[in-house]
C-alpha cells in the first residue's frame, strides 16, 4: 500500500496545488502523445520526478500488480484473430502503448502520494473548490480518513464472526447479504452518532484551514506543467 513517506526532497517541499497541477498536465500530455516518441519524452520526465521525490520505481510498480491482468488483456484481445496468424502484433501496438501510459501515470501519482500529506491535499482542495461545495468535500475527505480504519475494523469483525459460525460454508449470495445487512446497520448507527458529534462541535461553513505557502521553488514546477500542457495542445 502506498502512502505518505516522511522526507526532505524537493518534491516534498512543493505546494500541493503545484503537484496536483503537474500531475494533471502530465496526464493530459500522456493522452495527447501516446506515440513511442511522446512516451519516451514522458518516461524521462516521470523518471526525473521519481528521482527528485526519492520514489523507488520497481517497488512502486510491484504494488500495482493487481492491474497486470487488465494491462495485458488489452493488447492480447486486440491483437488476437480467429484464424491463421492468430496474433497480429501491429493491432496490439496501440493498446500496448496505452498500457505503458498507464504505468507512467501510476508512477507519477505514487510520487505525489509519497510526498504529500492528506491534510495538505485537503487544504488544497478546499482552496481550489470555492464556496460550500469546497467545505463539504474538503471536510468530507478528512472525515473519510478518520472513519476508514474504524469501518475496516467493523468489517473485519463481521467477517470473523461469520467465519466462526461457518459462514465460509454458506453461498456467495448469503455471505454478501449478511455482510450488507450488518454493515449497513453499523454504518447508519455510526452516521447518527457522528452527526450529533459534528453538531456538538459547531461544524461550520467557515472553518480555519492549515496554511499553504507557495514559494519560489514552485515556479520551475509550474513552468514545467505549463510546458507539458502547451506540448499536449500544440
Amino acid at each position: 500500500m502506498i502512502g505518505y513517506v516522511e522526507g526532505e526532497t524537493l518534491v516534498h517541499r512543493l505546494d500541493p496545488r503545484t503537484k496536483l497541477f503537474v500531475q494533471a498536465a502530465l496526464a493530459v500530455a500522456a493522452f495527447a502523445h501516446t506515440t513511442p516518441r511522446g512516451l519516451l519524452v514522458l518516461s524521462t520526465a516521470v523518471l526525473g520526478i521519481c528521482r527528485l521525490s526519492a520514489t523507488p520505481v520497481a517497488r512502486s510498480l510491484r504494488s500495482y500488480r493487481a492491474f497486470l491482468p487488465f494491462l495485458l488483456a488489452g493488447p492480447l484481445i486486440e491483437g488476437a484473430t480467429l484464424g491463421a496468424p492468430w496474433f497480429v502484433p501491429a493491432d496490439a501496438a496501440t493498446p500496448a502503448l496505452a498500457s505503458y501510459r498507464v504505468l507512467l501515470l501510476l508512477l507519477v501519482s505514487t510520487a505525489y502520494l509519497r510526498t504529500t500529506r492528506v491534510r495538505e491535499s485537503r487544504a488544497a482542495i478546499q482552496r481550489l473548490l470555492p464556496g460550500r461545495a469546497g467545505v463539504v468535500l474538503g471536510a468530507g475527505v478528512g472525515f473519510v480518513l478518520r472513519f476508514l480504519p474504524l469501518l475496516r475494523h467493523d468489517l473485519a469483525t463481521i467477517r470473523a464472526a461469520m467465519d466462526a459460525r461457518l459462514g465460509s460454508e454458506r453461498s456467495l449470495y448469503e455471505r454478501v447479504r449478511l455482510i450488507g445487512v450488518t454493515g449497513l446497520r453499523r454504518v447508519l448507527a455510526r452516521a447518527d452518532r457522528f452527526a450529533l458529534a459534528l453538531q456538538a462541535r459547531c461544524f461550520a461553513w467557515n472553518p480555519t484551514l492549515p496554511r499553504l505557502d507557495p514559494t519560489w521553488r514552485d515556479a520551475p514546477a509550474v513552468a514545467a506543467g505549463v510546458a507539458l500542457l502547451v506540448w499536449a495542445v500544440g
Partner: protein, 194 residues
Amino acid sequence: MSTPTDSVELVGDEVTGNVARAVLFAAATSATAPVDMVHPLAPNVPITLQTLWVYLAGVVLGPVWAGVAFVLYLLAGLLGLPVFAGGNAGLGVLLGPTGGFLFGFPLAAMTVGAIAHGTGGLTAPDAVSIPRLVVALLAGTAVVYAAGAAGYSLVQAIGPVAAVSAVVLPFLPVAGLKVAATVAIVRSDALIAR
C-alpha cells in the same frame, strides 16, 4: 498574523446529518475495497463489494447525497487515501484501466437514487416497491458497467466489443447476485425506523 473575527456560520442540522451519512457510505465503500471473495466460476477475478454500497447509497441517501458520497470517495482516492480496490489510490488509478468503473460509481448511485425515489422528495427506503427497486438497481448496474467498458476502451485504446468482453461479461453473474442481495438488505431489519 491576525485573528479572524467574523462569526462562526454553523451548518444546518439536516445538511450535517446528510454529510455524516455521505462520509460513512464513502468510508464503507473504501473499507470494502480490500475485502475480496473468490469468484465461483473464475477464481482469478476478484469480487469486491463496492457496487453493493453504490446501490445502498442510492436507495438510502437519495440521488443528491449518494452522488456527494461517491464524489467524496473519488476525491479521497485522488488525494491518496487507499480507498480503491486492492488498497490503491491516486490519479494514476482513476486514469487506469478500471478508472471508468470508479467514475461510474457517482453516476450509478445518482441513477439508483433518482429511480427509487422519483422527483418528489425522498421516500422511506423500505417503502419503495420491489419492482421499482429492481429497475433502479438494474439501471445503476448498467451505468457502472457502461462507464467501466467505456473507460477501459478509452484508456487501453481498444474497440468496444473487446472492452465489453474483457471487463463486463466476466463480472455480470456476480452483478446479478449483488442486485438480489441489495433487495434483501433493503427489506431487512437494518433499515427499520430510519
